[in-house]
């Protein structure tokens, strides 16, 4: 049973009860709901956003963001101003991400274990959970047939430099290479949660309430007892009737920017003082290469190729496409000069790097006391600058090796365009944090797991140290960034949390 906004009666409060209530239908919450429902538990899944059908998608990038993202896609950190987005839709971020599913290498989990007193979260411990998620979604490397010229140029550039590269594994079946992942897959090829895990949870008997905003977790002693909130209208957020779902266990999967606020608003799980702290991102830098021939970059998987070769150096390379209006934002200039550059987009290939900025920490706090709107503070630490600089230089090398005649680095202090002869100048450049125009949509660590209850919010199974039946399953539980795209890791950890919780009910 799924309820949408039109199903609610304006004058009647909604009440229900279940074994487990899951808050948030993004990749982690959807996994928990499906696994517990299939294990025979009664499950209620709550989602603040609506389900999107193909006719609800709009191709206009800004209007699409206004419909699918919180704060219309204009959320940004303070401190170092950097855009960061959070989806509001059934399926969460999976509706509008590029479906990248990568297992982090073992060294990432070894570092987690060593620094955060985690003894059962090695790559080997998690592999069965990665396997389960990958096999359910049919995750597979992007086939050559839908790579498009733009992605293949990256492969050619890497080959010429001897840098290993590979097709990106994605939760996609039947891709047409429309390059429209960020505005919603019109081909219904991306196996976002609304198409995969949520329908499976429904088939197993879960009850899904959309357009409901969780505002408080109630508790009695060490036990969470229910989740309370309001029905909200799609897009406007206009509040409707109240709801309360009583449950034997509560799982918070509202994302690493919303879950800590829900905990703080409920006065829960923060004896360590770590709720909302340790915010980390994978800041991304992107460079556009302009090629002599027409590339037709709009055709091909949105992000089809990657290189994991530099993970230990702190960055991952990947190809990128986005709505042209979004890409054009980074082009230099104005007036007729800007138009000249727009005309070069059909000849362009874009490569980005996501960086592991371990020194750069931030926080999520409510904008006002009790508010569920986040104020994000984050600063790029000077010690992380060399990683971004090195990533930028590597991207430029790859693009020139692939045959680019010029690149547009989009970095303050550098010329608007660099030719192959300018690479040495780039190597000598010393950057400042404010030189980079970055974006970051991978966010972590605000309810981090830690073996020591005084230093973290949850244990290795996602259970809050301070409560017997309150769990967190989203990227907030990561103790440190993953160095690769986080969705699959979040889902694997959520899968493990669901198995553990099912055994305890």
């Amino acid at each position: 049973m799924i309820r949408v906004f039109a199903d609610y009666e304006p004058e009647h409060a909604l009440r229900d009860e279940a074994d487990v209530v899951v808050v948030g239908s993004g990749p982690c919450g959807a996994v928990v709901a499906k696994e517990l429902a299939e294990a025979g538990r009664s499950v209620v899944l709550l989602e603040e956003g609506p389900p999107f059908t193909p006719e609800d998608f709009v191709l206009d990038g800004a209007l699409s963001m206004a419909r699918t993202m919180r704060e219309a896609g204009l959320r940004a950190t303070r401190g170092h101003v950097m855009p960061t987005m959070q989806a509001i839709a059934l399926g969460g971020g999976s509706l509008v991400n590029s479906a990248i599913c990568v297992r982090p290498p073992a060294f990432v989990f070894d570092e987690w274990a060593a620094r955060f007193e985690l003894s059962q979260t090695s790559r080997a411990d998690l592999d069965p959970h990665f396997d389960a998620v990958e096999s359910f979604l049919g995750i597979a490397p992007t086939p050559d047939a839908v790579q498009g010229r733009r992605n293949l140029l990256f492969r050619e550039g890497c080959e010429k430099l001897g840098i290993p590269s590979e097709p990106i594994p994605r939760n996609v079946r039947g891709c047409r290479g429309s390059g429209e992942c960020f505005t919603g897959c019109r081909a219904r090829a991306k196996q976002s949660m609304d198409l995969s895990y949520v329908p499976a949870a429904l088939r197993a008997g879960a009850r899904v309430y959309t357009s409901v905003r969780a505002e408080q977790v109630l508790h009695a002693g060490r036990r969470a007892t229910s989740v309370r909130g309001r029905v909200v209208a799609p897009f406007t957020g206009r509040p409707g009737p109240a709801f309360e779902i009583a449950a034997r266990a509560v799982v918070l999967s509202a994302g690493c920017m919303a879950t800590p606020l829900l905990l703080l608003a409920s006065g829960l799980a923060n004896r360590s003082g770590q709720v909302g702290r340790n915010l980390q991102f994978h800041p991304g830098v992107a460079v556009m290469g302009v090629f002599p021939e027409r590339v037709d970059p709009q055709f091909g998987a949105t992000q089809g190729m990657q290189s994991l070769h530099f993970l230990r150096d702190g960055y991952k390379l990947e190809t990128l496409w986005a709505p042209p209006a979004v890409l054009a934002v980074r082009l230099p200039g104005a007036g007729l000069a800007l138009k000249e550059r727009l005309a070069e987009i059909p000849h362009a290939s874009i490569v980005d790097a996501i960086a592991s900025c371990h020194h750069s920490l931030g926080s999520v706090r409510p904008r006002r006391q009790g508010s569920l709107e986040p104020a994000l503070h984050w600063r790029l630490h000077p010690d992380d600058l060399p990683v971004l600089g090195q990533a930028l230089r590597t991207i430029v090398d790859v693009l020139f090796a692939a045959g680019a005649r010029k690149v547009l680095p989009g970095v303050h202090g550098l010329p608007d365009e660099l030719g192959p002869g300018d690479v040495e100048a780039l190597r000598r450049q010393r950057f400042r944090p404010s030189d980079f125009v970055m974006a970051a949509n991978h966010a972590f660590c605000t309810t981090r797991m830690h073996g020591d209850p005084a230093a973290g919010v949850v244990d290795e199974w996602g259970r809050c140290h301070e409560l017997d039946n309150l769990y967190v399953a989203d990227t907030g539980v990561f103790p440190r960034c993953t160095s690769v795209n986080p969705m699959l890791t979040g889902m694997a950890l959520a899968h493990r949390t669901a198995k553990a919780l099912s055994g305890r009910l």
Partner: protein, 230 residues
Amino acid sequence: MRSLGYVADVPIEMALAAGLLLALGWRGFGGYPRPAEELGCLSRREAAFVASAAEALFPRGGAVPPSGLDAGVPVWCDRWLAALPAGTRRLVRALFLLVEHATLVFPAPGWDGWRRFSALDAERRGAVLEGWRTSRFFARRLVFTSLRAIVTQGYFADPAVLRCLGLAPREIVPPVHAADALYPPIGRPRSAIRFAAADVAVHGPLDRPPAAEPLGPEGPLHADYREAAP
């Protein structure tokens, strides 16, 4: 004391100063024309500012012929602003206000540069924007980037622009997915679901081959991006 003859108590210097202030106020903040289109959200001042910024960033001609005004940026901006949450909308309005009136404090080049942005000629609008873009202050560059992002989104919302660049989306007819029989379009009742279980062609994640027929330049355009018949 000299005074105006018909208002005996007002010194002429004070009257001249008041007149000058009024003239400056009018020059800075008044006399905005009625927008060419019916707008629901943008004020007259905001519409004039967005139109002038669109003209400055995307003048007519060049490699992509339509101008920002041809592309209907103010109308798009009006629609977009209406779709924003109230707090975000206030921020965007503050951005417009800031750039529109900053030249009253930090003038544009030239002897009469103390004009609001929308009252400057095209050349000086370009010079003002270039000043924001290349500033050594991050905050000023951020203002430029934000403004240009908004105007650029509006420019690209015009199908003619994407057609000029050969970037217009292609038509896609997806198979009916099991989820299409579960959810109505947003805001509609369950009766608006177009598909029944019998229509479903794709039942689960593994129910399709990994790659389908790839899209390419030869494919038909999405209906919203086709050129209207003459």
